[in-house]
Symmetry: C2
Subunit: 532 residues, 2 copies
């Protein structure tokens, strides 16, 4: 181990941080001990270098051949795959999440698949919605922003949402937008290895070397300053509501787009028929979903709405036993452990009762006890905002409603959420209640789920990993799923009576690539003027 802090990836090369304001090391969640290389906390000079370098290549990258972009994304995916074991081991040490199945079986394949889907969308232009109006001489499509994106990654997915490898990264690059990544300080070594692979793939693809840059950490005030720098086109963020809202305010004031996925308790509505049919099984599903990644999923089922009655009692009893018997979880960081403790305390202070878990887990490292809480409907309604506080860990709050009218009132009191789930009986017994309640949930969530827990987030064109405020910054955009996520980094470009030869190739009369385009109101892959 060298005495000097690790280099940052700036302006197309690995170099020492110009003006570090400090250093830090990764911490092993299992022991709580710091280990390995020192990483710099960058200062103003690094940031200025990064913004200037990204701005200088933004036009060139925007004009790059999409096939070259796709080639970069695919090379990068191949490189991650080729190095998956070493990456997974490193990430395991830094995050406490298991090498297998979590990294090798799920997150790394997902990350590579996501990069490849972004490559495919770059190649087939599906994110650009090409539109041709022959009568008015107008053509339009979604085009690159032409300014860099500042991407801040979260702690909980060192690959799939890493600022240097995840969905925001893949989306911005697919839109030919330079990325300034701020890795999460919880997994600096993993981020460094990923950045090495990304940098090499970028050079091999012949793209501008400053298209991808990475810093490890910033003082918060500097983070806000960069988010509000008008040279940026967009800020993309996944993390806590408080940090996200501060970044959003900075970006908003400068006319910089802000795309944030902020917080959610992902309400699960259990209808009486479903509970009567399979209370034990549903309790098991809830527990398994809450334990995934020690509950550190954006879509963790943090609130379960139940009707009073014997079927719910059986469910609650089974869930209580399950949570009480569940093994301790390992949290990602010391800060996460503190936040989780504070959140559970706040839920109790707001009127919730601990059914299982609660309190600190013993031992070294960032351990926590899976925790199940409950609250009566009246009390929930009296303090609905405080009782929707996200507890980022293996925690869920059961809300018991007196009757359907109170279930309705509770649903109306929900803030915007990423997901909402309804469990209903198969045989139609729950249908009337379903029809009454599901529309209220639908209006308040990005993804409505039937009869399964919300923790699975497929990388799909029909996914919405987003939702109404305050779960996300904009209800119309998703952070996951190609080509939708790419459109967050796009500017609408219209061409008015521009000669065919001067149009971008995908908007010309001839369509040799068979791109899907809307011509005079009809989707087709034909040439303009073809009888199809």
């Amino acid at each position: 181990m060298s005495g000097a802090a690790a280099p940052v990836l700036l302006a197309g090369e690995w170099r020492a941080s110009g003006d570090p304001t400090g250093v830090f090391r990764a911490e092993n969640p299992d022991s709580g001990e710091a280990f390995g290389t020192e990483f710099p906390i960058s200062g103003e000079q690094d940031l200025e270098t990064a913004i200037a370098a990204a701005t200088a290549v933004a036009d060139e990258l925007a004009a790059a051949d999409p096939a070259r972009i796709a080639g970069f994304l695919e090379r990068y995916a191949d490189a991650i795959e080729a190095n998956r074991e070493a990456l997974a081991e490193l990430a395991q040490r830094e995050t406490g999440l298991p090498v297998s199945p979590r990294f090798l079986g799920a997150e790394i394949p997902r990350t590579c698949g996501q990069l490849r889907l972004a490559a495919q969308a770059a190649r087939n232009h599906s994110w650009t919605l090409p539109t041709i109006d022959t009568g008015n001489g107008l053509r339009s499509w979604l085009a690159p922003l032409g300014k860099p994106a500042f991407v801040l990654g979260p702690a909980n997915f060192p690959f799939a949402f890493n600022a240097i490898a995840g969905s925001d990264f893949a989306s911005a690059l697919a839109a030919r937008t330079p990325v300034i990544a701020k890795a999460h300080p919880g997994h600096p070594g993993t981020s460094r290895e990923l950045a090495r692979l990304a940098h090499a793939a970028l050079l091999a693809a012949g793209l501008p070397a400053a298209s991808v840059q990475m810093l490890y950490q910033l003082p918060p005030a500097l983070g806000l300053r960069i988010a509000g720098d008008p040279r940026l086109g967009a800020v993309a963020f996944t993390g806590s509501r408080a940090a996200g809202q501060a970044l959003k305010a900075a970006a908003d004031a400068a006319g910089v787009l802000f795309h944030g996925e902020l917080s959610s308790v992902n309400p699960v509505l259990m209808l009486p028929g479903a509970l009567a049919d399979r209370a034990e099984a549903l309790a098991g599903e809830l527990l398994a979903s809450c334990l995934l990644g020690a509950g550190q999923f954006c879509t963790n089922p943090g609130l379960v709405l139940l009707p009073e009655g014997a079927p719910a009692d059986a469910f609650v009893d089974a869930a209580r036993r399950g949570f009480a018997d569940a093994p301790e979880g390992l949290l990602l960081s010391r800060g996460g452990q503190q936040h989780l403790r504070a959140a559970v305390d706040a839920l109790v202070a707001a009127g919730a009762t601990v059914l299982a878990g609660g309190g600190d887990a013993g031992g070294a490292g960032f351990r926590c006890r899976p925790t199940l809480l409950t609250v009566e409907g009246d009390r929930f309604l009296a303090n609905a905002a405080a009782l929707q506080r996200e507890a980022f860990g293996p925690v869920s709050l059961l809300v018991r409603a007196r009757d359907p009218a109170q279930m309705e009132a509770i649903l109306r009191a929900l803030e915007g959420q990423l997901t909402g789930t309804v469990y209903a009986a198969d045989d139609g017994r729950d249908d009337a209640l379903h029809d009454r309640l599901a529309p209220l949930l639908r209006a308040r969530v990005g993804r409505l789920i039937a009869n399964r827990m919300p923790t699975g987030v497929a990388v799909s064109a029909a996914m919405n990993h987003g939702g109404p405020w305050p779960s996300a910054s904009h209800p119309g955009f998703t952070a996951v799923g190609m080509p939708g996520a790419i459109r967050r980094f796009a500017a609408l470009h219209s061409y008015d009576h521009v000669a065919d030869a001067r149009l971008p190739a995908p908007l010309r009369d001839r369509n040799p690539g068979g791109i899907a385009r809307q011509i005079d109101g009809r989707w087709t892959d034909a040439d303009v003027g073809a009888d199809a």
Copy 2:
């Protein structure tokens, strides 16, 4: 004329303002005199009534049959058409714009056509981008926001952008979103008549009566308060940059979407070959475009970039003569006249020289002299922000560049703009310079136009009436053109393993309406599972 102020349209009925903070009357731009009915300036009580009533019907409207929405929009268009002469005369008195060709020949037909295109998009679901992923059990589409939109209309289009009849209104209603309209105080009588027709059409269509409400005027502080009310889903605004940015800040802080079309000088780039071929004709085109609506168009060509040389001299000379000989223009309002005077003074203070016009027009009313200014490239570059100030009237600034490198520098100094135009010779002489300069313009504008002035804004699916910050609030959205403009009022709704019968009809397996949907990556109007 009654002594009482005109009623407002609130909570489904015409009623007296609950707590007016004052009254105002329309002013005749020709004489400067106030005339006709007194209109109330609403206070807090009206606003609270409006927000509560719109919120109460938001779910019902979101769930309404799109055919009913389309029926409303079409009935309303029919009613405007049936009353076009009376409406045009009223608008003429309030705005000074001519009954014909402006209102009867252009703006009213455009407004009705726009409502009908919105109706068509509501019926065929084209704005919703239905997406089906059979492998992952996921389906998504764009759905109503589920919360009301607050729409603020501008002075300059009493029909096509009126808060109670224009593009924002039609877009929000097509997205089944209730509208609280704040009419522009420059044409309260026209807005009142339009609101009467809208209200009657709404009742005839059987939609919730509070889906459309209208106030005439608000104290600015109250306007900011409503824009920041978290019960709103969106604010849509067309107007000045200062007012728009203040509203945006209020909306942003509350997580309310803000869609603003703020300001633009719409740069026109004249290349040497085009100038050599047709200097006189181009000067005539510039003058005609600047005089349209007395230059009070969002897309008025307010900045013309010229290369030094004899062809440009001929153009400048012809333009100077044209502007000097042009008749006085009639501005929309006393405030507009003051703003225009201040803007021209500011351009001169920033280094521009008046070539023609300038100074006040004599006589009564809100008259102005068409004004042509010029500035050297060096001076422009030294003060680029101040020299891009929008002068809302028949005003254009000629910027003379020393050489292609300076043209490039000037283009790089441009802020985000709604439009950018390039005039080039037909025979290829300008091609090299075009290829060098056009990409710089392209990156800075929403709509790139070839060889025609920017004042025509077709209501087209391929239009972009929007652009990079600060010309508009979001570079990815357009304020004009269906179905794009409707998507500004949408939330992305994903359905995860939801049973077919519980999906919205357009997402079900069977597609009897032949809606265009993207199924497993391919656009088709077939059923799911059909071999097509």
